[in-house]
């Protein structure tokens, strides 16, 4: 549904993005992740026909964004990063303008406005002036204008930025409910958000795509060591732990998680399942085990790894040259 092929964009001599390629299938919710200034908004502006790329092709539903821009624009609902609203209009009037500008037939406009108003929970502010609304409501009005006309592709640039936690949950639920009926592409620099709402993640850093996969696969791939957390009922000295660990196959190291000596993190080889042996050894040693839990790498850690690896590699190549 969305295809980006070798997209490159230069602002003067500075490349904002280089050879960005990815695809989004119909009905999928894909997250676009990257630190601030990585090129997320630039990529999105190219996909929404706001600006042309320096080179490369962007296609929505098989239609080229550059050659047939009007046709593409009819298929997308777009919420820019800075929510663009006419502050002097009422919600109702603004949505009417959006519907008319998107070429929705006059007869369907009223029904379409009612639909997005109830979908985005705007019923009680429908006749208020946008300039007087709170940030959360403005964000919803922005979302409503993206959804009006039922576009097949919805592109959201940082949809939950600046909202309070309760509102973030609401918007996320709303986005999730769009899956299947719409293709959703949303950018964010907040990782848990992407992990919770998206089926697939595209990670961008310094203008280049560093990874594309499901959140689970990404964490699995990058998990070089598996960690097991052990908690005892009383403080245990290092020597005692060392004594227990030395006979278990696959344990690569251990360290105390905090100062009191009750909690320990055991690092193991990811290819070997050590937990049964570990449990047995701990119980046999007579230590009072309270908890044993394996720790999964969070998407946040994966992201940090990907992003910092890039930097390390770049530094190395600079040194070599």
């Amino acid at each position: 549904m969305i295809e980006a092929i070798d997209l490159t964009k230069f602002y003067g001599p500075i490349p904002a993005i280089r050879d960005v390629s990815f695809t989004v299938a119909r009905g999928e919710i894909v997250g676009f992740l990257g630190p601030n200034g990585a090129g997320k908004s630039t990529t999105i502006k190219i996909l929404t026909c706001f600006m042309p790329p320096t080179s490369g092709t962007a296609r929505i539903d098989g239609i080229d964004c550059l050659e047939n821009s009007l046709e593409v624009r009819r298929k997308i609902g777009y919420l820019p990063e800075i929510v663009p609203l006419y502050a002097e209009m009422t919600v109702q009037r603004f949505l009417r303008f959006c519907a008319e500008a998107k070429g929705i037939p006059a007869k369907q406009i009223k029904r379409e406005i009612d639909r997005v108003v109830s979908l985005c929970g705007l019923s009680n502010v429908e006749n208020r002036i946008i300039g007087h609304l709170s940030k959360g409501y403005r964000q919803r009005v922005g979302l409503a204008q993206a959804l009006i006309g039922n576009p097949s592709v919805i592109i959201l640039d940082e949809p939950t930025i600046g909202l309070d936690p309760a509102q973030i949950v609401e918007i996320r639920e709303l986005i999730k409910s769009l899956a299947g009926k719409h293709t959703v592409f949303l950018s964010s620099h907040i990782l848990p958000e992407v992990a919770q709402t998206c089926q697939r993640v595209v990670i961008i850093n310094k203008g280049q795509i560093v990874a594309t996969d499901t959140p689970e696969n990404l964490t699995k791939q990058l998990q070089r060591t598996r960690q097991v957390r052990l908690m005892f009922d009383s403080s245990v000295p290092v020597e005692k732990i060392q004594d227990v660990m030395k006979d278990i196959d696959g344990v690569t190291g251990f360290s105390p998680a905090n100062g009191d000596g009750k909690t320990w993190i055991v690092e193991t080889d990811p290819d070997v399942e050590v937990r049964p042996a570990l449990a047995k050894a701990v119980v046999e040693s007579g230590l009072g085990l309270v908890e044993m839990r394996s720790i999964d790498l969070s998407l946040e850690e994966v992201f940090m790894q990907l992003v910092t690896e890039e930097v390390v590699q770049a530094d190395e190549s600079e040194v070599q040259s």
């Binding site: 929404t48 026909c49 042309p52 820019p80 009037r93 500008a101």
Partner: protein, 257 residues
């Protein structure tokens, strides 16, 4: 012209809901009223004197002494006020980010420019209609030539449209409304005073050249009741040129972000 009506209606709505429009309309009507009053007062003063002087009576002419000066005054009033109506057209959309909506909606760039242009032209038309009661008063007092008045309105409308096209262009240059207004004000003033260059020019060629470029020079024939295609063409070309520049400017905005 996809999306023309939607944007046109939006532009009118944003004028009705903006204080700038009401302030501009207020100042415009007050000044027009004053100019009409002073033109009529001057005319009546001259006619009292003409009672004693038969030579002066020959020069008494309501078209030359009231209608013409009134429309020339009106053109200067609008020259001073039009930048205030046009300054926000693109500058505000860029500042608030709504330009991103307009440029990603299925609205063609041409429709966008023309809708904004005709939006302000409609507002100007509204202001002009507001000056009609003056002529009803004149009709009550004397017998003005309505065809001349119609020609005057036509000429002033064309001239106003060219002011608006220039203002539209300067508004597309910047995010700052004050800069947009200052630029358009400066340019309009330049197009006005260029006719003074004509009056001090040595050769007739230069004189004609300067006069041709003067934006207010071309309205004078209309105020005499003279509808000449050359002057209509001048204003239409003027509008077309600045609409063209505005469209190029929006294209470049797309490329450079």
């Amino acid at each position: 012209m996809r999306g023309f009506w939607a944007v046109y209606k939006k532009e009118l709505y944003s004028f009705w809901s903006s204080p700038i429009f009401y302030v501009v309309a207020f100042v415009f009507f007050v000044l027009c009223g004053y100019f009409f009053y002073s033109d009529v007062a001057y005319y009546s003063m001259i006619s009292f004197r003409a009672m004693q002087n038969p030579f002066m009576a020959e020069q008494l002419n309501i078209t030359n002494m009231v209608i013409r000066p009134f429309f020339l005054d009106l053109s200067i009033v609008f020259l001073l006020l039009s930048p205030l109506l046009t300054m926000k057209l693109y500058a505000e959309e860029r500042k608030s980010g709504t330009i991103e909506l307009l440029l990603t909606y299925p609205i063609s760039d041409g429709a966008l420019v023309w809708a904004k242009f005709f939006g302000v032209v409609t507002i100007f038309l509204f202001l002009l209609v507001g000056t009609l009661p003056h002529f009803f008063v004149l009709e009550y007092l004397t017998d003005p030539n309505w065809l001349v008045i119609a020609a005057c309105y036509g000429g002033i409308l064309l001239m106003g449209a060219s002011f608006i096209s220039l203002g539209l262009f300067t508004s597309s240059l910047t995010q700052n409304q004050i800069i947009a207004a200052t630029l358009s004000f400066g340019a309009l003033l330049g197009f006005w005073i260029i006719s003074w260059m004509g009056s001090i020019a040595q050769s007739t060629t230069w004189k004609r050249f300067f006069e041709y470029f003067s934006i207010t020079h071309h309205v004078e024939p209309f105020t005499k009741g003279l509808v000449d295609v050359r002057h209509i063409v001048y204003y239409l070309l003027f509008v077309a040129f600045f609409i063209f520049l505005t469209r190029r400017r929006i294209d470049s905005y797309r490329w450079h972000g």
